[in-house]
């Protein structure tokens, strides 16, 4: 059983600093286990979020050595032995305390997305018929665990506080794409995608796709098709170019 040195950012909205802790690590441990040990041994009041410890709830995101990750799915054996590990809160969201940030922005955006509206049932018993191949893509989007790591890395949200009001962010492009491609949904949201969600501000850097722990192909499968749909109604040069390069989906 070796010891590891971990630097954890501690503080609140007023400010803070990295604190160094040494804790024993055992085979198989993940970063969240290490944080729990720090909590139990050195700092009972170390604030962090977690629920499932199995990559299913999306609560435990943080920046580990500068990379946004789920701490419960980050194994300690990916670091070189003896390496000091740094854990900091997600950068984009306002700090509440230690590793806990204020992610309420995301819940506000969620409220603005009009509800799913199904077409009338296909069968007299009130059920529907859908083919698996027609829902595969939408099921990919519905894997989203709302960890908000994609929101955290998106430079439009990160660098432009003012634009947040007009930019829903990748998590919600996924949600909008899901509704748009849902075989039963009858709403149209293309106007919304442009106006409120501000998809035009996205310049397809793909940072969101890279961090998604559910491996949702956010840019290729959600954002680009959404942009194309918007273009059918509005003119958007980025997409025009893209379509030239990539061909229509």
């Amino acid at each position: 059983m070796a010891d590891v040195t971990v630097r954890v950012w501690r503080g609140n909205a007023q400010g803070g600093a990295f604190h160094e802790y040494r804790v024993p690590v055992e085979e198989g441990m993940v970063v969240l286990d290490v944080l729990h040990r720090i909590q139990a041994i050195h700092a009972n009041d170390l604030a962090l979020r977690w629920n499932c410890k199995a990559g299913k709830c999306g609560s435990c995101g943080a920046e580990v050595n500068g990379h946004p990750r789920l701490t419960c799915m980050t194994r300690m054996n990916i670091f070189t032995p003896g390496e000091t590990i740094t854990v900091a809160p997600m950068k984009t969201f306002p700090i509440i305390k230690d590793l806990v940030t204020d992610v309420s922005f995301n819940f506000q955006v969620a409220k603005k997305i009009p509800a799913f509206q199904s077409r009338p049932p296909d069968a007299p018993d009130g059920s529907w018929r859908m083919m698996q191949e027609d829902i595969d893509r939408v099921q990919e989007f519905r894997k989203c665990i709302e960890c908000f790591l994609c929101q955290n890395v998106c430079h439009v949200i990160r660098d432009h506080e003012g634009k947040k009001q007009h930019f829903a962010g990748p998590r919600f492009f996924v949600r909008l794409a899901e509704l748009e491609m849902h075989p039963l949904d009858t709403g149209t949201r293309t106007g919304l995608v442009k106006e409120f969600a501000g998809i035009g501000l996205c310049n397809i850097t793909k940072c969101c796709t890279e961090v998604c722990p559910e491996h949702i192909r956010i840019t290729d499968n959600a954002i680009i098709p959404l942009k194309e749909r918007v273009v059918d109604e509005h003119y958007d040069p980025v997409v025009w170019l893209l379509r030239k390069v990539l061909g229509k989906r």
Partner: protein
């Protein structure tokens, strides 16, 4: 501090807990036109329901048209060793299909059959393939669907807000007292009706599939205001949790692995479940490997594989194999799907299992067997409720989902939890709203009552104690794991009660550092109160039931005893003491009883 002005909210209905049951209750209450609040310990959408994997049981008959509510009802009662509240089991079986279709109407996308209907998968104890599912992430689909539906219904959501006590006016529940995790400030909810949907109690055990939230809050809240708890001795240990590496011990491995063809093996490579078929299930269980394997595709000619016996049977069999020295290297047994299904099928049907083992254990489940062992998973026991209305024994209080008792009897079948959540979540919301509408206007909450609760909550900051809340928690988990685990006896249960008394005393000396802002040490100090209460209830009820039935196994009373088959063990607070009694089980009407005779 007693004169701190508390932030106060007033509602018709408050729902505590925002998993499947709480969300469904809140949706229903607000649909009835009453002012509704939803209060949860975590952020919205993170509740334990999100971790449910295998599916939601409902006799839709999409895969086997022979299936219907009577068959589902019968499976549920037999799985619960006939101790279930028959009326709950009936309502559940009858209403589950409509609740599943309703989820689809709200946007859920279940996996499909070839002709485009909802696909159903095999699971333990279910006669037919019955579980609607989305790969192995059904809980996520359900919680997201309910969450996205609820968002537009005008329900006020209080996230990261923990309730520590219920409030009463006279005999009836009239609200709740809690704190904001973020600031540590107290908050008071006045309400005409209170719905508990707080889930389970697994965090009192060391090896568990449950998240930090599962500290038995709802059980303890109800007990605190004098409501009855029943069946607390029945704690389900899911047979298949991860066992290696140590840091992931307990994380759930879905029963869907076996539902999709996986089989349990010991160190000798034997499919040992064939040696553990109990008399009770012999007539319906395959005796040979050929028959068991044939069952997956032809249920008429073959009987069900013993790998899919109810969870209590499988968990005990695994413990016995390990005890006999035939376990796997890290103290579990093997669960093998790699040799039985092709890699593509495994990845498509069980994507998160594949991911979980690959990432956390360096095991490729398409190539190697998994190592698994029992993990504390589910509380069958809980708040005693009226089957139709979910009303607890305290007026104004309702309970649905895992926190309610009776539905699952002595053992829950897989897949019956998600359906329980929506069937009884809806009923709780409906009847709580109705109750609220019938209730007279405002009431007063006694300021002295509030001050006393607040003082108690703040004690860990102020007293000169010497106990670390994490240490007390660890010792509690150790105690429950060893002394109130899968196999129990009188000596150990009595010892557990002694240890719990000591732990209770130590809890009184817990001291926390820091301030009230987002302080997990303080939060845990308060959660310890709930965990100690439910732990004592489980130990006392387990001592009272001198037989082995379902998930409750007594090595000193190894058989089912028909006299105990007629009673619930009831735990309630009398003064400051915990009273335990045996009370008669509700009697099933003859037309339902016949379902069991015919099938013999």
């Amino acid at each position: 501090m007693a004169d701190e002005k508390y932030e106060t909210h007033e509602y018709d209905v408050i729902v505590i807990g925002a998993g499947g049951a709480g969300l469904r209750a809140a949706i229903e209450a607000s649909a009835q036109g009453v002012r509704t609040a939803l209060i949860c310990k975590s952020l919205l959408g993170k509740a334990h329901t999100v971790m449910a994997e295998g599916g939601i049981a409902a006799a839709l008959g999409n895969v086997y048209p022979e299936d219907n509510w009577q068959v589902h009802f019968r499976d549920t009662m037999r799985g619960g060793k006939m101790l279930n509240n028959w009326r709950m089991a009936q309502l559940h079986a009858q209403e589950a299909p409509a609740r599943v279709v309703e989820l689809e109407a709200w946007g859920a996308l279940f996996d499909r059959t070839k002709d485009g209907r909802i696909l159903q998968r095999d699971f333990g104890g279910h006669r037919y393939a019955r579980l609607a599912h989305v790969g192995d992430r059904t809980g996520l689909e359900m919680i997201r669907t309910l969450q996205q539906h609820a968002v537009h219904k005008g329900i006020d959501v209080f996230m990261e807000c923990t309730i520590v006590r219920l409030l009463k006016e006279g005999e009836r529940a009239c609200g709740a007292f809690g704190y904001w995790r973020e600031t540590g400030r107290f908050v008071v909810f006045k309400a005409k009706a209170v719905v508990l949907a707080t889930g389970g109690i697994g965090k009192a055990w060391k090896i568990t599939s449950n998240s930090w939230e599962y500290t038995g809050d709802g059980h303890a809240l109800a007990y605190g205001v004098g409501a009855d708890l029943i069946d607390m001795e029945f704690v389900q240990f899911h047979p298949t949790g991860m066992v290696w590496p140590p840091s992931v011990r307990g994380i759930l491995v879905t029963e869907g692995v076996r539902g999709d063809g996986g089989t349990l093996k010991n160190a000798l490579g034997e499919r040992f479940m064939f040696n553990y078929i109990p008399e009770f299930f012999r007539a319906e269980t395959a005796e040979t490997e050929a028959e068991a394997d044939g069952w997956y595709t032809d249920k008429k000619k073959n009987r069900r594989t013993p790998d899919l016996l109810p969870r209590d049977e499988v968990a005990r069999a695994i413990v016995a194999e390990i005890k006999a020295g035939r376990g796997s290297p890290h103290g579990g047994v093997f669960l093998d799907i790699a040799s039985r299904r092709d890699p593509e099928t495994i990845k498509r049907r069980l994507p998160s299992m594949y991911h979980q083992f690959k990432e956390l254990a360096d095991v490729d489940i398409t190539k190697q067997p998994m190592e698994v062992g029992p993990t504390c998973h589910y509380a069958m026991g809980g708040v005693r409720v009226d089957a139709d209305t979910t009303a607890a024994t305290v007026p104004g209080l309702f309970a649905a989902g895992e926190v309610a008792g009776g539905m699952h009897g002595a053992n829950r079948l897989g897949g019956n939890s998600l359906s329980d959540l929506v069937v009884f979540g809806r009923r709780a919301g409906l009847y709580a709203a109705e109750y609220a509408k019938r209730s007279p206007g405002s009431f007063t909450v006694d300021a002295g009552q509030l001050g006393a609760i607040a003082r108690e909550c703040l004690e860990p900051f102020e007293r000169g104690g010497d106990e670390n809340p994490y240490t007390v928690h660890r010792d509690l988990q150790e105690c429950m794991q060893i002394l109130v685990g899968i196999i129990r006896n009188e000596g150990e249960l009595k010892k557990a009660l002694e240890e719990l008394a000591v732990l209770r005393e130590r809890q009184g000396r817990v001291r926390v550092a820091g301030n009230r802002q987002y302080n997990p040490g303080w939060h845990l100090a308060m959660d310890l109160h709930s965990m100690l209460t439910v732990s004592e209830a489980v130990a006392r009820a387990a001592l009272e039931r001198k037989e082995s039935r379902g998930a409750h196994t007594r090595e000193d009373y190894p058989r089912m005893d028909p006299t105990f088959g007629k009673v619930n063990v009831v735990v309630r607070r009398v003064g400051d003491a915990m009273s335990v009694s045996q009370e008669p089980l509700p009697q099933m009407p003859d037309d339902l009883r016949r379902l069991f005779e015919e099938s013999k």
